[in-house]
């Protein structure tokens, strides 16, 4: 049975790491949700080879969406790893 101060410390370390992960993902989300689309006009001058999409249009129509999907599966994995590291994960 772990003592209470140990639990407290583990909780804090767990939450610090969780918060860091949250801010990282929020930054990526903000970049692909907003920042990149602010540069749509210069990006539209780049045409994706073969497919023919202007890059600025492509990012809003598909690129950012793909990033969001990949991010979510990565996040699920990373958060689970953090939970396991501190012993707070659910039993499998």
């Amino acid at each position: 049975m772990p003592n209470p101060t140990d639990l407290r410390a583990r909780e804090e370390a767990h939450w610090a790491k969780t918060s860091r992960l949250m801010f990282t993902h929020l930054a990526v989300w903000f970049f692909f949700g907003f920042v990149i689309h602010m540069f749509v006009k210069p990006l539209n001058n780049i045409i994706i080879p073969i497919l023919g999409f202007p890059l600025g249009f492509y990012m809003a129509a598909q690129g950012s969406l793909i990033v969001f999907v990949v991010m979510l599966f990565m996040f699920a994995k990373q958060q689970d790893k953090i939970d396991r590291e501190f012993g707070f994960a659910e039993e499998d």
């Binding site: 909780e11 767990h14 939450w15 969780t18 918060s19 949250m22 993902h25 929020l26 989300w29 692909f32 949700g33 907003f34 689309h37 602010m38 749509v40 006009k41 539209n44 045409i47 994706i48 497919l51 023919g52 999409f53 202007p54 600025g56 249009f57 492509y58 809003a60 129509a61 598909q62 950012s64 969406l65 793909i66 969001f68 999907v69 991010m71 979510l72 599966f73 996040f75 699920a76 958060q79 689970d80 939970d83 012993g87 707070f88 994960a89 659910e90 039993e91």
Partner: protein
Amino acid sequence: MATTSTGGSSDFLSNLGKIYGFYTGGFLAFVILLAVLEQVGVPNKILGYFFVFFTLAVYAIIGILSRTAQVSEYYVAGRSVPAFYNGMATGADWMSAASFVGMAGTLFLLGYDGLAWVLGWTGGFVLVSILIGPYLRKFGAYTVPDFLAFRYGGNFARALGVIVLVACSFTYVTAQIYGTGLIASRFLGMQFELAVFAGLVGILVCSMLGGMRAVTWTQVAQYIVLIIAYLTPIVILSTKNYGIPIPELTYGQAIADITAREQQMLATGLTTAATLKPHIQPFINYTPLNFFAIIMCMMVGTASLPHILMRYFTTPSVREARQSVGWSLLFIFLLYFSAPAYAAFSKLEVYTNIIGRDLSAIRPWLFSWGELGLIQICGKNAASIDAVIAACKAIADHPGVVRLQDFVINTDVIVLSTPEIAGLPYVISGLVAAGGLAAALSTADGLLLAIANALSHDVYYKMIDPNAPTARRLIVARVLLLIVAVVAAATAATKPGDILAMVGWAFSLAMAGNFPALVMGVWWKRATATGAICGIIAGFGLCLFYLVTTRYFPGAGVKYFGMTSLLNPATGAPLVDIAKAMALPNAMESFPTLAHPLANKVGWFNLTNIACGLLGAPLGFAVIYIVSKLGREPSAEMQAYVDDIRKPRGRTVLEEKTT
């Protein structure tokens, strides 16, 4: 949370793959059967009825088989829905008639600027997973107001949560029922009012008996129908035109062709620089501020809408709740990244085969839509070649070919007409109708359940009669579901003019009302009950005030609240001359029609009212922060609960009496 599953339901859960695989195969066989029937000469109308009634019957059977008498099954499907299937159910829950039928049309009309909706309606799931969803799952709520009540000191916060929930869900569900009526009336030739109530029956058989459990398993079935229906026509079209069955890759070429054709139309006088809105040029329909404001409000709204959040209460674990958000977005993505392809292919068809054509050589697919008044050429319904020629003759100096400014198309037509543009048999059109119906029904189910659950669980059980026995709680839940559904259908049958705008408003209202309190409740232990209550009232209040004033009291907004005209995104000029409009006799009219010169055209900071959440949510955060800091910090006990919510391991914080 004991799931106490009976032998039958655990058999069902372990065979999900087989059951839904069989179902998908059965559905495809059914489509092929109808295709054969069409070839042997069965009339289109009969095929349409087959499609609608067969699919409705399947949903009804699933709904009835999933009936339940257990509270936890009724409210959260026994918390036993695997991540993958919950993802599909959320996809169907999320994608409404507006996504299925309207999205591609919006992109057709707005070009790049329409992508604000595509981005806004997908990126929000990142926030659901990172900030809120899994924590609410660990908390163990049945409804979103449940969490607000527990975290923020009781029934006052609960009542506020219910008000926010009803405000954002009711208009939304009305729009869905309206959508079912529209699709049924268009494809079956039923009278609109009758079609609305037919749709209502379809919705009720799915949700009445089995609550969340029944809705979950019908939504999975509906997702399968709607995604097959959405992708089939466009995959065939892409294969036909470009030889590759992946429209999402081939429409890049279509976009390049559209851009080239736009230049050509300008050069040959088929359009003018003032009428033409180049497809890929950004910020000509929305100003950059409004473009990003809409993205933000739709994203944050996603993470605050109760009917979406409550889907993540149904997974067996916190871990699966997180994975489930990923699956949800993947399933939603399949539709949303195809919508721009629909828009591009349709636009190319219109630009090359309608605009610039001699009037007598217009392609015939559009006449059936012209008859319904959905496509107009030269200001008249394009019902036949003769009608078009007569209408254009009436215009002075008309060159005898269709110019861009002569052509008006209703946005709903884009998806519905693609099968005809591609020259596909009617069975594909019927399939698309069945898909649109599935999209509208599944979203309506989820929303109705969210409203009825809030009323039965939060208002009746938690606030009025906490000692009510299980049987009575479930009866109350079902009766309330019926009442809400009938009221929503009655509202939809009156065809209220603002109905589609109201769906956008729902996101902003949810964002302003729920988001700050939910996020602070999990991420900031110091948030107090008083702080949250003030924050919800202030944020939600400001958002509602902005909406109602700009839409229904624009004169008062200008006179008393310093609102000014919104600006035209392309030219930067004001949309209305405020001084002139205020001098009109009806300037101060309340509840004016949409035609009123000021309605929806005034505001602060040139911010469109759909994005009012952008005013409300920051205020909500600020108020919660300041008021919480002024008060005493929450009890050690409450802070310990918050710690519990943050750790996936262990029992849920809230233990419901389930028997």
